[in-house]
């Protein structure tokens, strides 16, 4: 049986009041939702709270899910994304984002990041292996604006395709691609600056 059919059956059972079906859904998706929340919110406590909120909302609105309109994961991602954005607005954690447009001097762009890092004796592959580097990337991700952050998280961390992301975020595919590119480039520049400070 296909994944879509399995999930559809689980949803129907759950709507019918089958507690074990709901538990199955929670077991299947909690890890993925937690990861999205963790990468977006930045810390474990908030991620736990947000994951719980996502599932509470899912539980209440499960009967509104229409398999014909899209994949279950896309529907879940939409709920997650809406809650994350709400959380971001509530917490007023509007961080100062180093926008691509405001990024300064052109000489920074003159040399690709990979070459700059290689010049300092830190090959990207080796550096990425270390936990410190991952934490650095994680904290740099928090500095992106929410729009760019959610786009890169869904694409590069959750491996969703452009169409799914566009459906989940309710924006055109072209905008999704643009945001992903801007998010990636901005992240690279932030990390580049961090490396300059560390070195």
């Amino acid at each position: 049986m296909e994944e879509t059919q399995v999930v559809g059956l689980l949803v129907r059972r759950c709507v019918g009041g089958d507690a074990s079906a709901w538990e199955e859904i929670v077991q299947r998706y909690h890890r993925r939702i937690y990861n999205v929340c963790y990468r977006f919110a930045g810390d474990s406590d908030n991620a736990q709270d947000l994951t719980q909120e996502v599932f509470i909302k899912m539980y209440r609105t499960l009967n509104t899910y229409d398999a014909g309109k899209g994949a279950f994961m896309t529907w879940v991602t939409t709920i997650t994304r809406n809650l994350l954005v709400d959380h971001f607005r509530k917490s007023k954690g509007d961080r100062i984002t180093d926008s691509l447009d405001s990024t300064s001097s052109e000489h920074e762009d003159a040399q690709p990041l990979s070459e700059q890092i290689a010049d300092r004796g830190l090959p990207p592959d080796a550096a990425v292996q270390s936990r410190e580097t991952r934490e650095m990337v994680h904290s740099a991700l928090q500095k992106l604006s929410p729009e760019l952050r959610e786009a890169v998280i869904l694409r590069d961390l959750q491996d969703m395709d452009y169409r799914e992301i566009a459906t989940a975020l309710r924006i055109p595919e072209g905008t999704v691609k643009s945001r992903i590119n801007r998010g990636r480039a901005e992240l690279a520049r932030l990390l580049q600056r961090t490396y300059r400070q560390v070195m």
Binding site: W22, V26, H30, R39, A110, V137, A140, Y162, N181, A188
Partner: protein, 262 residues
């Protein structure tokens, strides 16, 4: 410059194709890819931009390799908050598909609970302030016991057999009764002595009579009533006048002062 055409491709067009170009082969046609690559090599803006996007994607992929493991009790909490039904599973699936045993799961849960409850307590106990306070309490307690003559050796020698306890209870009861009887004897003697004294001495006037006498007696100094307020009001004028040897009885000087009498 944005909008500039290089190798048959504008910068805006290049930007739109970056995602497709990075997603791998097959997304762009051969001609399009050739123009894209040529533009990337030549353009001073799009080339570095592409490099940054590529680097950013690599960093993010590195994060994707390490999925964050959610807390053990998360599923339990979610189920409790939604359906209110506890998990029926004895095994929990790990990300790699393996399952954990029931005991291991309980151990994990115990670890998480102990981490949340005992660790803060242990951290508090280890503080020098707490250790000092505890030491002072212990020292005071042992000092008080020493002063009272209680020795740990004596406590160890206490006979806790029922017959011995009954014997000790009876002894204590006898002591209390004897003490009470003695006290009663003393009080009886004291009251007898007081009665004898009263019978021998003449009768004194009662307290009511004494009070009457004091009211009629005006020879003594008046009672001082300290609660009377003789001070003048704050804004009341003071009139100065000559009284003796002056024909005119009207005041010589009339002046108003704001001085306050204390």
């Amino acid at each position: 410059m944005p909008g500039e055409t290089k190798h048959g491709m504008e910068c805006t067009e290049f930007e739109a194709l970056v995602s497709d170009a990075m997603d791998g082969d097959g997304q762009l046609s051969a001609a399009c890819k050739e123009s894209f690559e040529a533009h990337r090599r030549v353009c001073g803006i799009c080339g570095p931009l592409f490099a940054d996007v590529q680097a950013g994607q690599q960093w993010l992929r590195s994060l994707a390799l390490e999925a964050v493991e959610p807390p053990v009790h998360l599923v339990h909490n979610i189920l409790a908050a939604t359906s209110g039904v506890a998990s029926t599973r004895l095994h929990t699936a790990t990300p790699d598909g393996r399952t954990t045993r029931f005991g291991q799961r309980w151990r994990e849960r115990w670890d998480s609970y102990s981490a949340s409850y005992f660790r803060p307590v242990a951290g508090f106990v280890r503080q020098p302030r707490f250790v000092m306070s505890f030491g002072m309490i212990f020292f005071s307690f042992s000092l008080a016991l020493n002063a009272a003559g209680v020795k740990p050796a004596d406590v160890a020698k206490v006979d806790l057999r029922p017959s011995a306890l009954r014997h000790a209870y009876n002894n204590a009861q006898i002591k209390v009764v004897k003490y009470y009887d003695n006290i009663r004897f003393v009080y009886e003697i004291e009251s007898k002595v007081r009665e004898l004294k009263r019978a021998n001495t003449p009768a004194e006037p009662g307290p009511e009579e004494q009070k009457e006498n004091r009211k009629n007696n005006t020879s003594g100094p008046p009672e001082q009533r300290q609660d009377r307020n003789y001070s003048q009001e704050y804004n009341q004028p003071v009139l100065a006048a000559l009284r003796d040897g002056v024909v005119d009885a009207s005041p010589a000087v009339t002046m108003t002062t704001n001085r306050r009498f204390v």
